[in-house]
């Protein structure tokens, strides 16, 4: 195992890893080296146990007067409060539970966007966006006769802030941007961008899927109108995500999906809708998933988010130095402010060939376009290899990656230079 820093306040990695059942697994006869946390995180036993307990005696929420239903409702609603506190929201009623970041963005594009955007309007995104924060806006613009514009990035993978003011005059109806790039790890200067966009009169949505695990999130400080994030990137289960929206906006927005739980009174002739956030939560939600998400948030609080962030920053530095020694390796995305995500290419080798070679050593990385084809296009590559770190990652993971990469380069080059 690599060196572990046990100075006071630092993360005790072996204790963290012991909480994750995944790490007893062998892959291809080798210990699992999981470097794909940006895609999804492994789950601590506390989350798995909370979900198992929720399954063992289950009930529907908001509907019953019996004890199990009250328990389930309380457990579910408690998570709403936890999420609000985690992201600096004042009011838990501004937290809408959805399936994930993708669904949150689609909800805004459809419910808010359709009312806000008309022929001749503009929607501004960045070149860095994950497809989930690009395609819904493309669909909206096509449907509404609006134009999609793009704030470009430079060759470091940083947004070109000098282009922003021109793109904000006149103001787009909506500005949608990532807090952190999943493909490159870039941390965007969102406070600056949001402040300028709001001053120009735009509504602003921030995709926080990749940010929430790695940097502090404070929606009040950011100043945006909507913020989206996913449980499964945050050590919680998939199938649960959050849309935070300013209460005044959520109240004005028409409901998105209709059905039970989002209605106040229903007659055959028509229905009235419940208050925010219930207006946007039709049908039975992923109750056990939300409870699992709550357990993940508890786990993070107990471990100390700032300590995890500091640990990941240290790993990023270590990884950058270690990978520099791999012959022919070039980093893709070298922003000055990055989270613990490293995208790279090695010579002319195809990322899938590298990914397969690493897989044979038990190393899980992501080889592909990372749902960010425009980013790949910008750098002129079909795909990259992406190694991404989480709370349970340590230096031995990076050492294994660097070593396996060097072997793979030698193997795939067939001994040629």
């Amino acid at each position: 195992m690599g060196a572990r820093d046990l100075a006071e306040g630092a993360v005790d990695i072996s204790a963290v890893r012991a909480e994750f059942p995944a790490f007893v697994r062998l892959v291809n006869g080798k210990p699992l080296v999981y470097l794909d946390s940006a895609s999804t995180t492994q789950k601590p036993r506390a989350v798995i146990d909370a979900m198992r307990r929720a399954f063992e005696a289950t009930a529907n929420i908001h509907r019953g007067v019996h004890a199990l239903s009250v328990e389930a409702t309380d457990a579910f609603e408690a998570v709403r409060g936890k999420v609000a506190r985690k992201i600096g929201a004042q009011d838990p009623s501004e937290i809408v539970f959805v399936r994930g970041t993708t669904e949150a963005i689609n909800l805004v594009a459809q419910s808010y966007g359709r009312a806000r955007v008309g022929p001749g309007d503009r929607v501004l995104v960045t070149e860095l966006e994950h497809h989930s924060n690009l395609v819904p806006w493309q669909m909206l613009c096509r449907e509404r006769g609006a134009r999609l514009e793009v704030l470009p990035i430079d060759d470091r993978g940083e947004v070109r802030l000098e282009r922003l003011d021109a793109l904000l005059a006149p103001a787009p109806a909506i500005v949608a941007l990532s807090h952190v790039s999943n493909s490159l790890g870039t941390v965007l200067p969102i406070a600056t961008i949001v402040q300028r966009a709001k001053a120009a009169g735009a509504a602003v949505l921030v995709d926080g899927a990749q940010a929430a695990p790695h940097v502090p999130v404070d929606v009040s400080a950011i100043g945006c109108d909507f913020y989206a994030l996913s449980s499964h990137k945050l050590y919680g289960p998939p199938g649960v995500g959050v849309l935070w929206g300013r209460r005044a906006l959520l109240e004005q927005m028409p409901p998105w999906q209709g059905g039970g739980d989002m209605v106040a009174s229903v007659r055959l002739e028509g229905s009235t809708y419940r208050e925010v956030p219930h207006k946007f939560e039709a049908g039975t939600p992923n109750i056990v998933g939300v409870i699992g998400f709550g357990a993940a948030l508890d786990w993070l609080e107990a471990r100390g988010p700032e300590r995890i962030f500091a640990h990941e920053r240290e790993l990023l530095d270590y990884a950058t130095r270690a990978l520099e020694s791999v012959p022919g390796l070039r980093f893709i995305g070298t922003a000055r402010d990055k989270v613990a995500v490293v995208s790279f290419a090695v010579g002319e080798l195809h990322p899938h060939d590298l990914g397969t070679a690493l897989d044979l050593e038990g190393i899980a990385v992501r080889a592909g376009h990372h749902c960010a084809q425009p980013v790949m296009d910008h750098f002129g590559v079909p795909a990259t290899v992406r190694a991404s770190f989480g709370a349970y990652s340590d230096r031995s993971d990076i050492d294994a990656l660097a070593s396996a990469l060097k072997s793979a380069v030698a193997l795939l080059s067939g001994g040629r230079p």
Binding site: L349, T356, L412
Partner: protein, 142 residues
């Protein structure tokens, strides 16, 4: 079959990827088609010169991973002097070879170099892409 990197990317596959056979454009093909896998960026064009139902020449142009390029190179050697029916039968055999849910053919003949991909279902699309281009090329009247 062990999942050993050296077994998979063994001499022949690395050889075909590094020293591809027939990697060029045909001046006047009778059949051609392109196949792409947008998920990974693999792209391959197969061109054929067919005389009296026999493949006189076959070439490829490919961009992408080693398995795709090696498979295309192997393809162009295999289909020469075959009838269209025989070439399509080879494509079917390759499909069985790389499909882990199909019974493994005991003898894959000259497709043997690609047998290792069977253990990597995630890479199946890479190996079959050139053969998909071949099917499309042969499906066109010509």
């Amino acid at each position: 079959m062990t999942r050993d990197a050296k077994a998979l990317y063994r001499e022949l596959i690395v050889d075909h990827a590094q020293r591809p056979r027939n990697a060029r454009a045909l001046p006047e093909p009778t059949h051609e088609a392109k196949a792409e896998n947008p998920l990974c960026g693999d792209s391959v064009i197969i061109q054929l010169l067919v005389n009296s139902d026999r493949v006189a020449s076959a070439t490829f142009q490919a961009r992408g991973c080693m398995i795709c390029r090696a498979s295309a190179s192997v393809l162009t050697e295999l289909v020469v002097d075959r009838t269209r029916t025989e070439a399509l039968a080879m494509a079917d055999l390759l499909g069985l070879l790389v499909d882990p849910s199909a019974p493994e053919p005991s003898d894959a003949g000259v497709l043997e170099p690609l047998r290792g991909v069977r253990d990597f279902p995630a890479r199946k699309a890479c190996a079959t892409l050139p053969w998909e281009a071949l099917r499309r090329a042969l499906a066109r009247p010509g």
